[in-house]
């Protein structure tokens, strides 16, 4: 049987991906350029008995999301820049209380209201450092409509598997462009559900690490009763200020993601084997970069593309390896050098990083990238 195909916008694909992953709860607040996700979910969720709620603001949406997720539902919210800023305190709550959920953030020009309809890639640091305190961060950066669909499913899988909020962040171009998408059959892509307790309610502790770094999570209303707080807590969920517990818990929460980075990280290498110049690019920018690499190869320039699909955790070790073979990295990005800074942090000064940084709402085109390659000595 031929597979179902459609011509979809990135945001619509995200909603469809969420539904494939088993999302049953959506809480959001409208904001350009992400609103289509909410619109599709408001239509589709009630059809399958799921719940959609439009809250009074993004803080409320994030709170309702966490509340819904605690009842066992796979939960999604969608937003963009200013909304992401508002959600930050409660993203931290999701991290410390270890509540799985997915935050779909379309990157538009910032700071503040910035350029609501202009593309940007300037929320990647907010994805890692936006909420205060040490905490785990997972952030995915898809580059096509098909990838938005598949990475949204993966975002849910990672959230459920690691019991933590996961962000998926297409830039505005990816979110709004229309492309052909091929839908997987049911069961074709793995769908992961959170581990629920195997012990009876009397013995259940929500942060019991005897099963590993990711403790099973019971649902409110499923016969288990337990305490959830944003304070540092003991394995039984109750607050503590005891140094040894606080230290161990915070380290575990970060380790649960960093220690499993190999499972979470995903990237694509294109013509990197013999590359002397590697363009590191993600999202829509990576599409220009791929074109530029092809053109450069025709001109005899040994260029390659390194494309992070998971942005956090960042593929540090692989870039360090590649840094030993290249003359230079090029970092085209729709911000003032955030990714370049991250690359710099992992390549131990082995190669220069040439940046193409645009925050004028215009995409970076292949010619700009090829010109930059020609600057490499």
């Amino acid at each position: 049987m031929a597979k179902k195909v459609a011509f979809l916008q990135g945001n619509e694909a995200a909603a469809q991906g969420a539904l494939y992953a088993g999302c049953k709860f959506f809480a959001g607040y409208p904001i350009t350029p992400s609103t289509e996700v909410a619109e599709v979910m408001s239509v589709e969720l009630p059809k399958i008995g799921g719940k959609f709620i439009q809250m009074e603001d993004e803080i409320g949406a994030m709170a309702a999301l966490l509340g819904g997720a605690l009842t066992g539902a796979k939960a999604l919210t969608s937003t963009s820049g200013p909304g992401l800023s508002l959600k930050q305190e409660l993203i931290g709550y999701g991290c410390i209380a270890e509540i799985p959920c997915v935050i779909y953030n379309v990157m538009r020009g910032g700071p503040s209201t910035g350029m609501p309809t202009g593309p940007s890639q300037s929320d990647i640091m907010a994805a890692k450092w936006g909420t205060h305190g040490d905490h785990p961060a997972i952030c995915l950066v898809p580059a096509s409509v098909q990838e938005v669909y598949e990475e949204t499913i993966r975002a849910f899988n990672l959230a459920e598997k690691y019991r933590t909020p996961v962000m998926i962040m297409p830039d505005e171009i990816v979110a709004h462009m229309r492309e052909r998408i091929v839908f997987p059959e049911p069961g074709e892509i793995e769908v992961i559900d959170r581990t629920t307790p195997s012990v009876p309610p009397e013995q259940y502790k929500p942060y019991d690490t005897s099963f590993g770094d990711v403790p099973p999570l019971a649902a409110f209303g499923s016969g288990y009763k337990f305490h959830v707080t944003g304070l540092n807590k003991l394995p039984d969920g109750f607050p503590t200020t005891k140094a040894e517990y606080v230290q161990a818990e915070e380290e575990r929460q970060v380790r649960k993601v960093e220690g499993n980075a190999a499972d979470i990280m995903k990237w694509e290498e294109y013509l990197c084997e013999d590359a002397e110049i590697i363009v590191v690019a993600f999202g829509s920018t990576s599409r220009s970069a791929r074109f530029a690499v092809d053109q450069a190869r025709k001109q005899g320039i040994k260029a390659g593309l390194f494309r992070p699909i998971t942005f956090w955790p960042f593929p540090e070790a692989r870039l360090l390896e590649l840094s030993k073979q290249v003359k230079a990295f090029i970092s085209p990005e729709m911000n003032l050098g955030m990714c370049a800074g991250v690359i710099k942090g992992c390549i131990e000064g082995n190669a220069p990083i040439l940046g193409i940084f645009r925050v004028d709402g215009e995409p970076i085109n292949p010619d700009q990238i090829i010109d930059k390659m020609k600057e490499v000595k």
């Binding site: 009630p46 008995g49 009074e56 803080i59 409320g60 949406a61 309702a64 509340g67 009842t71 305490h227």
Partner: protein, 272 residues
Amino acid sequence: MAFDYDKYLRPNKLPHIWCPGCGHGIVMKGLIRAIDTCGLKKEDTAIVSGIGCASRLPGYLDFCTLHTAHGRAAAFATGVKMARPEMNVILVGGDGDGTAIGGNHFIHACRRNINMTYIIMNNKIYGMTGGQFSPATPTGDKASTTVYGNPDPAFDIAKLAIGAGATFVARGTAFHANQIDKLIAEAIQHKGFSVVEILDDCPTTYGRRNKFKSVIEMMNHLKETTVPVKAAEKMSPEQLKGKVLTGVLYKEEKPEYTEEYAKVIQRAQAAK
């Protein structure tokens, strides 16, 4: 017979963190008795709070308890209730938590008329952070950030709830302890968003600054400045001057949010 609170308390959590004479403990006991009256099952009941002294309450109760972030209890609770309408959802918190930082979520929960009960412990101050004024601090009162007297007017929380669309609104006091459980029980049994404001006392950060020599004076003040709505009907405007009404202040039947959403599901499935 002494009421058996232990049945609902988590073992080994007492003594609680509240100061000597803090009214939050009196409210917690009233809530427990109300839950007992209503026969709510522990595993089917979520108790949700924000941040503040009052918001530490859920930690003591043996239910599904969710101690959220400052001001966000109503929004978290809305998520819980939407996702599992069959659960009983009770919110607790202070006046600052509920009407300052959480004011937006509060009025919208009222507007939706979602079937939950919100108990606001109004001690007219930010207790936990050491006594800064709240939106419920009367004009002229002293707080750590209004040493020259509070220039801000105060909210009437019950009126705010009524104005925003809550369909059951009651007020009690920490002094009238035997009323608290009755008001809360009636609120829980009401279908829709119910608000119970309990005029409370914070001897540590409010009483001290506002010339109350002891918690006893604060309790007496609650007694002297309040009048049950029934009694007020027979009183003249002069007699009612400076008095605050207690009892069930407002009650109305209106469509409930999760039931309305169930109809949305029906319509969506019919159209499929």
